[in-house]
Symmetry: D2
Subunit: 337 residues, 4 copies
């Protein structure tokens, strides 16, 4: 951490800052420039808040030097984390495909979709039983009935399952069924929830918030990791920008950057990232080309009748065609599929 003093700062101001740095157990390193004095805070000051210095008289700016996350960082864990989800290996050279409907709507809808995506080449089945909906009047999911249907689909197809958990008190119930906890974009900074899943031993699929920076996203992963659960997958699913032609802006840079900053597996979600089924194909390929370890894609046998997110779901035959194209692409990128 570096503290930049104002042009007008007095010697006494500098002195006060240095004393506060030392009182916190760090060393202060002064550097006298031509227009500003700069004070370096020497030591592992990740827990220190910049505001503790910003409030002192004569301070202009406080700059963090260290990334605030540690367990998620490649600095301290250079090798890729590999996670075994009931036999599906995530984070290795093989690209992982998660597919299924946005919401579990009925036993038949789920089983039909599960068989179709399995057939097409999916590795893990997704499906929402508890749904975060921006309207209180919209379909909120089937709840535990949905979880039972997911378990049945797993039985039938052999695919592990992933489903969303929305509150700390539901972690225990959902944990009885699911192979992977999904933390949705709106809960990326739901800290009690992150703490709760961090205490389990079930892998966590953490979606980036639509307005979370890469740094904040990895800090949310750090919450789970610091609770003792080292099995975290991070998923880019589009951020909110001024562009309205697409539902979100898939941040392809973030996929490439997170592969450098962290050892955790990085996924892309072209369904939410674009909000338009016509764009899923090209952006799914782009995610893989940028280095993603896997994809999450929404598939629905009858999208026009879907209770949620139909516009960004592929029909099973379109999904199958996309998988064939991805399989052509993977070897050209040094990956398997």
């Amino acid at each position: 951490m570096i503290i930049v003093m104002k042009h007008s700062a007095a010697a006494a101001d500098i002195d006060t800052v240095v004393k506060q740095v030392e009182a916190m157990g760090y060393r202060a390193h002064l550097s006298q420039g031509t227009e500003r004095t700069i004070i370096g805070v020497v030591g592992d000051n990740r827990p220190v808040q910049p505001h503790n210095f910003e409030m002192l008289s004569g301070v202009e700016q406080v700059v963090r030097i260290l990334q605030p996350f540690k367990l998620a960082s490649r600095d301290f864990h250079p090798n890729n984390t590999v996670i075994n989800v009931r036999g599906v290996v995530v984070g290795g050279p093989r690209i992982t495909l998660i597919a299924g409907p946005c919401s579990v709507e009925s036993r038949s809808q789920l089983l039909e979709t599960a068989c179709a995506v399995r057939e097409a080449g999916a590795d893990i089945l997704r499906g929402g039983a508890f749904k975060p909906r921006s309207s209180p009047y919209a379909f909120q999911g089937l709840g535990e009935d949905g979880l039972e249907m997911l378990a049945e689909a797993r039985e039938e197809t052999g695919m592990p399952i992933i489903t969303e958990v929305m509150s700390p008190e539901a972690v225990s119930l959902v944990g009885q069924y699911t192979d992977v906890f999904q933390i949705g974009a709106r809960n990326n900074q739901n800290f009690p929830l992150l703490t709760a899943v961090g205490r389990t031993h079930i892998p966590v699929f953490l979606k980036r918030s639509m307005m979370g920076t890469v740094q904040e996203t990895l800090m949310s992963a750090e919450y789970v990791l610091s609770g003792g659960n080292r099995q975290v997958i991070v998923c880019e699913r589009g951020i909110r920008t001024f562009e309205t032609a697409t539902r979100n802006t898939l941040d392809i840079n973030a996929i490439a950057l997170m592969k450098q900053w962290t050892h955790l597996p990085i996924f892309g979600d072209p369904s939410h990232g674009t909000g338009k089924w016509e764009l899923i194909g090209p952006t799914a390929k782009a995610c893989i080309a940028a280095g993603a370890d896997g994809l999450m894609i929404e598939v629905h046998p009858h999208p026009a009748e879907a209770m949620s997110d139909g516009a960004q779901s592929l029909k099973p035959e379109k999904f199958a065609a996309l998988v064939r194209e991805l399989r052509q692409l993977a070897p050209a990128l040094g990956r398997t599929m």
Copy 2:
């Protein structure tokens, strides 16, 4: 809702859309333009999802006509909602001041601040006992001990209190102490939490998300209202934009717009809205000038020692000076204070 067909849509495509509209219980109204056919969906279609039509063959675009919220709308409730918080009237001509520390840090810190803000003219005391922190290594709040201290400060000063609740299972505990539930920006779309506070009879202070549109913000208010709790205050606290010179961008337009769209009291939070104590004064006045019914301002007796958000807290004497300025301003805006 209006469905715009593609230039290339076939008569059969139009037919299919019309049939789906009718199958959902609405009337379809066709309008044949020179380049596009447009189908109006007649009836209260707030619960319908645009994607149900976007997926149909030949559909180009689906446009919502009705605001998705109803209980929060001035269309159906033209008069301002006025909320009585233990004798403090919120939403009337008098401007309400909420002040206090970001976090409750100790009994003495809280009581010192409470007395100071009371003396300066605050109406309601704020203080966080459970704190949402982006780092798992940062101070997480005093929990129930903090709630006890808030209750004691209320006893001592006579001011009602407001504190944040972060998860559905904490609603019952926090509700035993607080006069107003604060829902933080990161929980604005925590739907299980909104549902939980919607079942109580305690007023809710709902902060806009840093990434939430005005429409989504009022939909989150609708969640609480539709649960039966009609006492909701909405607070603009800055949104996230490309500008980095301030922590957030206080959306002054949203204050003026929400006063037109909804009957609920609208507040401004210049502490979070700017992230810099030097900007609190001018932006607090701007909120009031734009029509806000009240302000939430962070005050700390020793900001440099604050455990959170010191950089955006005023010292008590600066807060007192600001209140004097606001009192000069209020009559020129037709308000009292």
Copy 3:
């Protein structure tokens, strides 16, 4: 400027950076932390580009310490710049009102509006003769005929005039008529144009870009100032964000912040800042409350027939009512009007 070395940087990497710093004529100041080495670049390094160091082996991050602008900064020019526009004093205690139609559409429209805004209390008349339009098929302005009409309206009302100049080669022509050059938001980083108006002695009204940071905005002012023209007014007119309920997001923080960072007069434009005439009143008051030295407001006698921007124009009688309210407000803020 501070250069942060990677955790993994070798001694030779540090050596190379130090040598490059010295080769550029600066002193290097090393600070050895527990996890990173930091190298301070001592001297007025405003012209140095961070990328010159970012490319060197072992460099993690380069942080600018000094604001890149100097002539625009309060550090070097503490007192407010006051500009005399044909007898109208801008930047002093008195608030300045610029009003008029978006576009000059006809002699009668302009004269009718000019007389009305003069009567209501405006100080300077605005009107576009050359119009930047996002569609090549839209009305592009009357050109020199419009300039003639503006000059006639000045003659008739005694008000100085302001009009937009869109390209370097038009500076000479527009300069023969106008009292103030307006640089539109889309031209905020049109550097040849900034250079051209910087060579004149006519005051410049510089609108912030809808995508420009406060720092970039003041750098654009620096372009004009460094050309020798010290009469620059900076105008906040709304930035582009994810919010779509308003045309732009008026950045009220920027008004308060720029008053601290620069000595130049700061204006607000609630017409473009909101895009909705119903929001002009509350946000105009907010601009003044936040410290703006003046306002630019679009007024049109028949907005529904306006050739541009009718939705964000006030009718003359609504403008007159707003001026009366602002005159009540000004003294409560220590200003006159």
Copy 4:
């Protein structure tokens, strides 16, 4: 265009709107919903401004149905536009590589880079002679000397050249040298400049603005096209968002979407799109995977000594390695290279 009336609109309000629609030469089509009346404007109303109706009493909202561009649209021109740049075919199945330094800095720097990128497989040489710089104190380019050097490099390598033109009066000079005009991101809405290059017969490489929507970008292309110049290439180069870990956010969705909306060739610029040379490789591949017809990449033999944009330039050997990887990728995407 659709006009939505307010809940409270009177019959007379509706009547006034209908009359105005008809006075403009369109037909009005009324649709009476349960809560709102909707008026469709029938006819090619691209030139109509929504504000002409938004100002009328009782109007709530005006929704555009037609894309405002026509010449750029696939609706009216289904086949891909293919452009021949001195023998290099752009917009066909073969992927085009534009490479070279950000700025032309010297004859030797340019020739060295030109030979290296030619050798590696580039098709067209880029280099800035006139540079838009956000600081008036930064290197502004070599001007006409730079153009001469580019011409010499073309002579020597056989590669066509592309260079930026920044103002209408420079179009004639730059046009004497260049094979393609580059319009930079900051000039995407410099309408006099778009008009000027639209009158030439030299292909135009139009960069998206860092805050331009896809629709606005294609409207800027429409400016050039409507001037008579049908040779336009559109380039996604990153947009400005809240994310600060990368210089811009490369909008991969926009590449996929523009390929659907327009027949013009679409390029990606991973250098500006990320601002970090370490991210150029993965995002270049992502652009191609998403359907881009070509790439623009900055290459500099000694990036640390570059006068601009060194941090986002590849060294020639890294560029050569990337080209080899792209050549492996192209066939898996049905492209050649």
